[in-house]
Subunit: 399 residues, 2 copies
DNA sequence: AATGCTTTTTTCGAAAATGAACAAAGTAGA
DNA sequence: TCTACTTTGTTCATTTTCGAAAAAAGCATT
């Protein structure tokens, strides 16, 4: 008999595969597990009874499919373990705790100095996690893992590569800093990649195995998902759509190049253009609100941004040929006008399917379901649930 | 006891996995197989003795690693089966036959009318294959598969999507046409994807599991390889680098968009520009020769093409973040001047690694090892060896 | 209520894969 | 030449996984 921790982390053993398959989607039927793990019916059945006996898996419901014997809906025992997700944001930290049945148990937020250090962050997160765990009546050592979402590319060993938002953090190994404080497995990923995991787990991409996500927010990021796996590339830089160089003579970008997509359609830039033109500083929420209401200047800014964004997505399509695009971030909340402009521009910048081509040869466009920075925190939780971006585990347990 | 054919095609059985692992790299040691298949040493050992007993696998050599017991080099029995690769080109067809130890047994070429039909092609290929097989003293029914390389994107079910080079072929299901004539498993892929397989199997990408290939030839294509798998995308369009739209007001492209990379750096266009400027039509071989010798006008054309190509590769890097770029196609034969220009432009158009970053955070650039259209035919063979792009198998054997 | 149909779930003997211990085959240095 | 060390290859009892058949649990029609 093994504990949930071992099962959860075992990459090869069938029992582990089953547990993680359930963790990934929250609840599942045995038949679904047969498909997603590739194991034999009998194997799944046997292991499932064992897992039920040891209290790791629970029957939660019974689901009829119209015909035939109804199937049992299974879920991991919520009491068997918990996962935490942490968003390390600009002057703020947000922490969510979930059980293994995907129920959010705690979701808190607190402000930080804008120049907080990794050590500050780790200490604050630890204090806060201890407090929250106490409220939930569990011990912090029961956490199966903590996921960190960072607004910067992260290398495979947990180092922050390009401190564009948090410049002083560049070069820090964020994973080891947190591992030392928290003493449990740490998973690190960049913010947009977390967003994709959140959409796969709770949002617009549930059940999708292949898609590309564009996140239009203050910055522009994205994620490439192939076979349900978020691609990280050789160094963790993959899907930095905001820094596709679209115009070699365009505006200078914070990354050091010119004419990046972000300089045309990034939120920071749009806000600056708006302030320059209308003389009044606005928040991104105000900006989105005015653009949605059709305020001419703002609408035009969004229109132009959509034009460039569609171009970028066209190029991404030419390279990756995904069946689905998910459009996320605050700019997506502008609604139809942004999405339509984007699709129109996309059509002009991607290889046109031949005239007789069936509908399915065009990619689908879907707007993400998360608002605010929910996608990021929840994605950080999903990091643990899906055992993605795992980095440190051999730290001594917090005393 | 099972025949090589079943083993070769069985996707799940360990024996099949071992056979295909050997087929993919030509010859291997048992330890390599343990790593690449993920099976236990004991399993590999047991199955290997069985495979040797049935004559499928042979000991070919013994390799010392300096320390420890030397390992046996294994190879598939060349007499156990053969694979054919077919290039369906512009006014020409090329066919290669290999044994399972990667030895080329036959490599022939013949001209076709420029407007030959798929049926013509299938009949000619069949006649030629029968002849070649007879010369080799084997029966055509012993072929383990035939790979087809096409100068156009191909869908998963073998349909030609965009007949840019062979316009009348658009919409044909090339796989079923050939399957009917040849009566053996057919594998279809687009030309550039085949090129990547050839480089992985015999060329510059041996041992590489992740890379991006750009092929600069008369057209521009490419391939994305992740975990040793050539990515096809949702519809088989993936890695159409030639049609990245770099300038919305640029020249019209045959794909219907403007300013595609191909309109700036594609061989067809370069030849046309050269003819317009120097009044004399040249072949691509002549063009490359003159550019390599530093002939000013040609050198400048190549320089400008490298500038745009580097830009395109920069964008691809921002999206995919590969550890390695392979540069293939006739334009690569121009040499240093093209490659250097390309790398220089790349550096200006991709996210710059921070100043302190280690060398390994930059992608490597390597020139492909194949010349002419060797990569394409050999890639078509590799299609079969690696069981990639498999489409038809249930056709009735040719009578 | 009974029967047929469909899908899920379990059971159980057979087959496959594994881990651990051992044997083999080489190098390097005493 | 002998011993220590390293890596490869084999054997076999134990454990794991599978396939096929049977049992179970619902819906729909008669």
């Amino acid at each position: 008999m093994v504990g949930i921790r071992e099962l959860f982390e075992d990459q090869t053993a069938p029992a582990g595969r089953i547990v993680r398959a359930i963790a990934a989607i929250g609840s599942a039927t045995a038949t679904q597990l047969v498909k997603s793990t590739g194991l034999a019916r009998s194997t799944v059945s046997t292991l499932l009874t064992e897992l039920k006996d040891s209290g790791v898996v629970l029957d939660v419901d019974t689901k009829s499919n119209g015909f035939g014997r109804p199937s049992q809906l299974l879920s991991l025992n919520p009491a068997a373990g918990r996962c935490a997700g942490v968003l390390l944001g600009l002057g703020e930290i947000r922490i969510a705790i979930c059980d293994l049945a995907h129920t959010v148990l705690s979701d808190i937020w607190f402000a930080m100095d804008t120049d907080y250090t990794p050590d500050d962050a780790a200490r604050c997160v630890r204090a806060s996690l201890e407090e929250q765990c106490a409220l939930l009546g569990v011990d912090m050592s029961e956490l199966l893992g903590v996921g960190l979402a960072i607004s910067a590319p992260v290398s495979y060993d947990g180092e922050i590569l390009n401190g564009s938002i948090l410049p002083t953090w560049c070069g820090t190994n964020i994973a080891s800093v947190f591992s030392e404080q928290l003493g449990c497995p740490i998973h690190v990923e960049n913010e947009s990649h977390c967003g994709a995991l959140a959409e796969m787990t709770w949002g617009a991409a549930v059940g999708e195995t292949n898609f590309v996500l564009f996140k239009f927010d203050l910055g522009i990021g994205g994620a490439i998902v192939i076979d349900s796996t978020v691609q990280r590339g050789a160094h963790g830089y993959a899907a930095e759509f905001g820094h596709m160089s679209l115009d070699p003579r365009g505006p200078l970008c914070r990354c050091g190049n010119r004419g990046c997509l972000e300089t045309f359609a990034g939120g920071f830039q749009l806000l600056r253009y708006a302030e320059q033109s209308f003389g009044e500083p606005v928040s991104i929420e105000q900006f989105v609100e005015r653009a949605r209401n059709g305020d001419p200047g703002y609408a035009r800014l969004v229109d132009d941004a959509a034009e460039m964004a569609g171009w970028g997505m066209g190029i991404a399509f030419t390279i990756l040929n995904p069946p689905l695009f998910i459009i996320a971030g605050k700019l997506a909340e502008v609604g139809e006008s942004f999405i339509n402009g984007l699709e129109r521009s996309f059509a002009r910048h991607s290889v046109a399917p031949p005239a007789h081509s069936p509908e399915k040869r065009r990619p689908r466009f879907v707007v993400g379901t998360f608002r605010g920075n929910d996608d990021t925190v929840m994605g950080a939780v999903a990091l643990v649930l899906r055992q993605h971006g795992r980095i440190a585990n051999e730290a001594s347990p917090a005393s």
